[in-house]
Amino acid sequence: MITQDKIDGFIRKIPPSPKILKVTLMFLEKGELVKAAQIAKEDLALSAYLRVLVNKPIYGFKNQVNDISQIFGILGVARSQQAVYNYMITLLSPDKWKLFKLNKTSFENLQADLSANWHKILVYLNINDKDIGSSITLLPASVIVSEALFREHMDEVSLLRSVHAIDLNTILVRLCSIDLFDICEQISIKWEMSDNVALIIQASSGIKPTNDVTLNNLGKWMHLLLFYTLSKPNFIEAGLNDFIDFQIDYAQDVYDDFSKVMDL
């Protein structure tokens, strides 16, 4: 069904991050929001994306924000970086989704939901780290990778899952000894994201905890946040709820705090 060659082919085709984004991120890294905004404005698609993203209801801004300098100013360095990474991830998404019932808007909604709630969590945990803030942006990449690898095998997956409760990530591991989160890590390496981003993402799979207690704890929060988000009707309808296995035991010990943050 899916072979190592196919996975290698997918990884090879991941484009390097565009120059404008690299420079924007470089200025954001230095905390130079104005210069970052000036560069970002040159990429019309990035500008349009940022406008749509921050004006989504979950970001909670009362007035429409259109100017990129204003957007970066309101978001601050960490969340601006997160927003640019979110845009980069969309560059990998297909024009037309087949495996999941998603489209451009619903995928962006997924990104926005995850990013905004991740911000809430980091505020609660009193963590102010740009890279940790940006780590959430890589999570939806696992959805894109699933789509890319499994879209031509929908019937087979469907038949397999009609006789056995098995998630896409497990199928991939059993067929090729590599999982969706390993591929996400490859993306983060190619795009020169911080090492911690990959570590948190791997931990957030729920099946590969890391020895670093802090990062592992963040992995638990992210795992729980993912399933909190994927339990929303629009994402259930999109077929996202069971694309990976929810490791309830892994996330259990942060659940009480999570329910406080999310007002459950």
């Binding site: 899916i2 095998h153 019937d155 087979e156 059993r174 009707p233 259930i236 069971d242 659940y255």
Partner: protein, 464 residues
């Protein structure tokens, strides 16, 4: 969401958070109806991967449960929960708990109509004495040996006896059970358990599709265990007479065991006997009498009706059958298949050692049976994708092989449907040895295709 159906139990497994908004999106009535069509007589929602639920979240399922139970006589409920979740559900539905709660799927399967693992020693405890009794009766009826702990203290003591019990039941509640006629397989006989008053309702509670499937895959002896039947009316009489007539085409035998005629007119017995139905006092009168079993057809599962030859339609569709099989095995093993030879003849298996087999029947616009013979190595490899690890557990391999053959059957159904040929598939059957397979298939003529997967030989046989 699709349910996984195994041994007549359909299980939906939502993940994450269940509230009033999400629940109805997880499972729809259409999803449940589709599951019922797969011969599920128990529909459960697993809470194993649910970390949060509220009353509104469960209500959406409970409403669907009520509709499904009324329409299909299906057992419905929740399973796979811990003590905290069990308590929460009890609190939400204190006086209106009319669905079932099974602590695990394994426990649920003990109460299913199409259960297969019998003779288990089961320790059970419920603080509600009527529940303990109800569970014990159901378990006993299903061929198990239930041991009731009367108190929590007794349960705590008994549970310490390691290996004394195959299964321990606690935190389980039997709501309204489905009223489907329970079915089990013993050797080559199918046993149906019926009880109380038999009337026109038997037409709804008896799984005629399962019965027909069993005929199609070669079962010839069907026993109605009727110790607890009080009486039957003319509608039930007609039902059984028709069942016997339709089975005669397959040379099948229907027997009643333990049926008394104190409250049923004796003339009914004569009518049933005229239809070919036989009566026995005890189950052992049949099952322990080898000669009788042979006479009744249970010593061999050969399907007499199917002394039929391949027809043109079936041969025309042969590429679809092979394609479905090859693609499934390729998917499961990630190995390429090479077709080696094709013969039309009786099935021929030169090497019988280290091989296992499985079959699945199909019927509708065309009918027939696919038989797959695996070297144990390929079977294990193919099952690894579903099991997740290498195993030598024969029972697990055979179970998984049945799932694999089910996938092949599903694929055949889809491929044929695309060409306007509509078929339904039977339940899969597995054979521990080639000899067991040959009992069913050695006289059948069909197309034998030899395939090679990484130099391992694999046999495909299509017959009618």
């Amino acid at each position: 969401m699709r349910a996984v159906v195994k041994s007549g139990v359909g299980v939906f497994t939502p993940q994450g958070f269940l509230d009033g908004n999400s629940s109805s999106t997880f499972i729809s009535m259409e999803d449940i109806e589709a599951t019922i069509k797969l011969n599920a007589d128990m529909i459960l929602v697993s809470l194993k991967k649910v970390i949060f639920f509220n009353r509104n979240g469960l209500d959406a399922f409970v409403k669907m449960f009520a509709k499904i139970r009324t329409a299909h006589h299906t057992t419905v409920g929740f399973c796979d929960y811990d003590y905290k979740k069990f308590q929460a559900i009890n609190k939400f539905y204190k006086n209106e708990l009319n669905f079932c709660l099974f602590q695990s799927q394994e426990i649920a399967s003990l109460f299913a109509s199409s259960f297969k693992n019998q003779n288990k020693n089961i320790l059970l405890f419920s603080p509600d004495k009527s529940q303990s009794a109800a569970m014990a009766i159901e378990l006993h009826d299903n061929g198990h040996n239930p041991i009731i702990a009367q108190t929590q203290e007794e349960f705590n003591i008994k549970i310490k006896a390691q290996n004394a019990y195959d299964i321990i039941i606690k935190d389980t509640y039997l709501g309204q059970m489905g009223q489907k006629v329970a079915t089990r397989v013993t050797g080559n006989a199918i046993i149906y358990s019926v009880s109380s008053f038999l009337d026109a309702e038997i037409g709804n509670t008896f799984n005629i599709s399962y019965h027909n499937n069993s005929l199609n895959v070669g079962f010839r002896l069907f026993i109605f265990e009727a110790y607890k039947v009080v009486s039957m009316n003319v509608h039930a009489l007609n039902f059984f007479s028709k069942l016997a007539s339709s089975g005669a085409e397959y040379n099948a035998t229907i027997c009643f065991v333990g049926l008394t005629f104190e409250k049923t007119p004796l003339s009914f017995k004569e009518t049933l006997e005229d239809s070919g139905i036989m009566f026995f006092n005890q189950m052992d009168d049949i099952l322990k009498n080898k000669e009788l079993l042979e006479d009744l057809g249970a010593s061999s599962a050969a399907n007499v009706k199917t002394k039929r030859v391949l027809n043109k339609v079936l041969v025309t569709e042969l590429p679809n059958f092979i394609n479905a099989t090859v693609r499934t095995i390729e998917m499961m093993t990630n190995a390429k298949a090479v077709k080696q030879s094709v013969n039309i003849n009786k099935i021929e298996i030169l090497e019988k050692e280290n091989k296992i087999a499985s079959s699945i029947g199909f019927y509708g616009d065309i009918d027939g049976m696919i038989i797959l013979i695996f070297p144990t190595g390929i079977a294990k490899k193919a099952c690894e994708l579903l099991i997740g690890e290498q195993t030598d557990d024969e029972e697990m391999i055979l179970d998984t092989l049945a799932e694999l053959v089910n996938i092949v059957g599903g694929k055949v159904k889809t491929l044929l449907h695309d060409e306007g040929v509509n078929v339904d598939i039977t339940l899969p059957r597995t054979y521990q040895s080639i000899d067991a397979l040959l009992e069913v298939a050695q006289e059948k003529k069909g197309v034998q295709v030899e395939l090679s997967f990484n130099n391992d030989k694999f046999l495909f046989f299509l017959t009618r």
